[in-house]
C-alpha cells in the first residue's frame, strides 16, 4: 500500500470516528447529568479529525505539489494562531459575556466556510461540475452572511454598537440586496460556470457580507439570542454544503446535524420568548411606533436597602427574580450570602427564572450555578408563577422587561404577549435598580409605579451588602 493510500485510509477512518463522537457528544450534552462529559467526547472527535487531516500533506493534488512546504507551514501558523487566540480569549471571558463570545466564534466558523467556498471559486483552471458549483455558491453565501451577521450581533451584545439602525423601506432594501447577491452567485455558477472575472466573484462575497450587516443591524438587543442561534444553524448548513463540495463526509454530517439542531434550538428559544423567528427578523422590537405607550399613573417610591432587607428577614416567603443587571454587577455571590441569612432566619426563599433571564435561555441558571446556588431553590417561570400571590416579598434584581405587566395588558407595547413573571402579585415588591432607565427593549415599566412596589436604587452588589449588614446587625443586637 502506498503512503498516499494509507494516508487516505487513516483520514477516512478518523472522520468516521469524529462523526460518531460528535453525535454521541451532542447527545450527552442534551441532559444536565451527562452534559459535562459530552463536550469532552465531542472534543476528542475534533482532535482526532484535525490530527488526521495533517495527513492531507501526503495526498495533495499534482498542481499543489510545488507549494506543499509553504502551504503546510502556513497551515501550521494559522492553526496555532487561531487556536491560541481563541483558547485564551475563551478562558478569560466573563460568564456574563458568554453569549457574545459564542456569536464571535460562530462568525469565525461561518467565515471559514465562506473561505473554503472562495478558494474553490478562485481556483484557476479547475472545473467543478454544475451541482457542486451551485452548492459552493450557496454555502459561501450562507457562511458569509453568518460571518458578518454574527460580528454585528457580537458588537451589539458587547456594547460596541449601541441602539438599532433602521431606515424607511429597510425590508425592501434588504430584499433587493439579497436577491441581487443571490442572482450574482447564480450567474457565476450557471452562466459563467465558475470562470467569472475575479472582481465579480469578489463582489459576490462583499454583497453577502453587507447583507449580513443589513439583516442584523435593525434587530434589537433583546432578540439577539435568537439571532445568534439562527446564525449558528446557518454556519452549520454552510459547513455541511462546503463539506459536500470537498467530498468530506465528516463536514457534511457535523454541519447538517448542527444545521438542523440549531434550527430547532432557534425555534425553541423564540417560543420561550413568545416571538416567532420571522417576527424577530422582519418586524422588530419598537418598529411599531412606541409613541402609543399609555400614560403611567403613580410615582416611583424609593426605599432604603437596609429597611428592605430587614423587611425580608421578617417575611415568611420571599421570591427572587434575577435579571442580567444582577450578573453585570457581579452580585450573585452576595445575593446568595443574603439568601442564606434569610434561610437561617426561617424564611422560605425561591428563585424565579424567566426563560430569557440573562441574555439567553439558561444563561441565568449558569450564572447562579457559578455562585453556588443549589438547584432545588431555582424554579422555572411556569412552576413558580402561581406562587407569587402567596409571597410576602418579591424582589426584582436587575430585571426589567421580564417582569413588566404591560406584556399582559398593553396591546400597543412591543413586548405585548411575552410571558412574564407575576411579581406584581406579591404583597410587597422591591426592585433593585441602578437608575430610572428603561429595559433592554426600551419600554417603560409600570410595575415600578405600582402601589405595592418600592424601588431600591443602587448598584446591585452594594445593595446586597447593605441588606446583609442590616440583617446581621439586627440578629446580632437581638441577643
Amino acid at each position: 500500500m502506498s503512503t498516499t493510500e494509507l494516508a487516505s485510509l487513516v483520514i477516512d477512518a478518523a472522520f468516521l470516528a469524529a462523526a460518531f463522537l460528535f453525535i454521541y457528544g451532542l447527545k450527552r450534552m442534551s441532559s444536565p447529568v451527562t452534559a459535562a462529559s459530552g463536550i469532552r467526547v465531542a472534543g476528542l472527535g475534533m482532535l482526532v479529525a484535525v490530527l488526521a487531516s495533517f495527513l492531507y500533506v501526503f495526498s495533495v493534488s499534482e498542481a499543489a505539489l510545488p507549494h506543499r512546504t509553504v502551504n503546510a507551514a502556513l497551515a501550521a501558523v494559522a492553526l496555532i494562531l487561531g487556536l491560541s487566540w481563541a483558547w485564551i480569549s475563551g478562558k478569560r471571558v466573563e460568564m456574563t459575556a458568554m453569549p457574545q463570545m459564542v456569536a464571535l466564534y460562530n462568525g469565525m466558523g461561518g467565515g471559514a466556510a465562506a473561505a473554503i467556498g472562495a478558494v474553490e471559486l478562485f481556483r484557476a483552471g479547475e472545473d467543478l461540475a454544475l451541482i457542486p458549483l451551485v452548492v459552493t455558491i450557496i454555502g459561501s453565501l450562507i457562511g458569509a452572511i453568518s460571518l458578518s451577521g454574527s460580528l454585528i450581533a457580537w458588537a451589539k451584545l458587547d456594547g460596541r454598537i449601541n441602539g438599532t439602525w433602521r431606515i424607511k423601506g429597510q425590508q425592501l432594501l434588504n430584499g433587493t440586496f439579497f436577491v441581487a447577491t443571490l442572482g450574482l452567485g447564480l450567474y457565476i455558477a450557471l452562466i459563467a460556470h465558475g470562470h467569472a472575472p475575479v472582481a465579480l466573484t469578489a463582489l459576490f462575497f462583499i454583497g453577502a457580507l453587507i447583507f449580513g450587516v443589513l439583516m442584523t443591524m435593525p434587530i434589537g438587543g433583546a432578540d439577539m439570542p435568537v439571532v445568534i442561534s439562527l446564525y449558528n444553524a446557518f454556519t452549520g448548513l454552510a459547513v455541511g454544503f462546503e463539506g459536500f463540495v470537498l467530498q468530506n463526509p465528516a463536514l457534511m454530517i457535523a454541519g447538517m446535524v448542527v444545521g438542523s439542531a440549531g434550527t430547532l434550538l432557534t425555534l425553541l428559544m423564540a417560543k420561550a420568548m413568545n416571538r416567532s423567528v420571522s417576527n424577530v427578523i422582519f418586524s422588530n422590537f419598537g418598529a411599531t411606533g412606541d409613541e402609543q405607550q399609555g400614560e403611567i399613573k403613580g410615582s416611583m417610591k424609593p426605599v432604603d436597602a437596609g429597611d428592605a432587607g430587614i423587611n425580608m428577614r421578617y417575611a415568611s416567603k420571599v421570591i427572587i427574580a434575577p435579571g442580567y443587571g444582577l450578573a453585570v454587577a457581579q452580585a450573585q455571590h452576595k445575593l446568595y450570602e443574603f439568601v442564606k441569612l434569610l434561610q437561617d432566619a426561617g424564611v422560605e426563599v425561591k428563585f424565579a427564572i424567566h426563560p430569557v433571564a440573562g441574555r439567553m435561555p439558561g444563561h441565568m441558571n449558569v450564572l447562579l450555578a457559578e455562585a453556588g446556588v443549589p438547584y432545588d431553590i431555582i424554579y422555572d417561570m411556569e412552576d413558580i408563577n402561581g406562587e407569587f400571590k402567596e409571597a410576602d416579598v418579591a424582589i426584582v434584581i436587575g430585571a426589567n422587561d421580564t417582569v413588566n405587566p404591560a406584556a399582559r395588558t398593553n396591546k400597543s407595547s412591543p413586548i405585548y404577549g411575552m410571558p412574564i413573571l407575576n411579581v406584581d402579585q406579591a404583597k410587597q415588591v422591591y426592585v433593585v435598580k441602578r437608575g430610572q432607565g428603561k429595559g433592554y427593549s426600551g419600554v417603560e415599566n409600570e410595575l415600578f409605579f405600582a402601589d405595592n412596589t418600592n424601588m431600591v436604587y443602587g448598584d446591585a452588589q452594594k445593595v446586597m451588602v447593605s441588606m446583609i449588614q442590616a440583617v446581621k446587625s439586627l440578629d446580632g443586637g437581638g441577643h
Binding site: 487531516s53 472562495a118 455541511g240
Partner: protein
C-alpha cells in the same frame, strides 16, 4: 464519490439526527447546547486545512490561511466556552448531592 443521492441521504439522516438530539432538552441547557453545537461546526477547520494544503496561488493561500485561522478559532473557542459552562452544571450537581 459522494455524489447526488448518496449525499442527499447523508444530509437527510444527519438532519434527522440533529433534530432528535435536541428534541426534548430542558431550557436550562439551551445556551450550553448552542455553544456545543457551535463547537461541533468548528470541524470546518479540517475543510479549510484541505483547501489551504491544495492551494496553488497566492490568492488561494491567503484565503486558505484565513479559513484555517477562523476555523481553528471556532473549534478552540467553542470548546473552551462550552466546557466552562458545563463545568458549572457538574459542580452544582455535586453540591446538591
Amino acid at each position: 464519490m459522494l455524489t447526488g443521492f448518496i449525499a442527499l441521504y447523508i444530509f437527510m439522516l444527519a438532519a434527522f439526527t440533529g433534530y432528535e438530539i435536541i428534541g426534548r432538552v430542558p431550557s436550562i441547557l439551551h445556551t450550553p447546547l448552542m455553544s456545543g453545537s457551535n463547537f461541533v461546526h468548528g470541524i470546518v477547520v479540517v475543510g479549510a486545512l484541505f483547501a489551504l494544503l491544495n492551494a496553488t496561488s497566492i490568492t488561494e493561500q491567503v484565503i486558505g490561511f484565513f479559513g484555517v485561522l477562523l476555523g481553528a478559532g471556532n473549534a478552540a473557542g467553542g470548546y473552551v466556552v462550552t466546557e466552562r459552562m458545563l463545568q458549572m452544571f457538574k459542580s452544582s450537581d455535586k453540591k446538591k448531592a
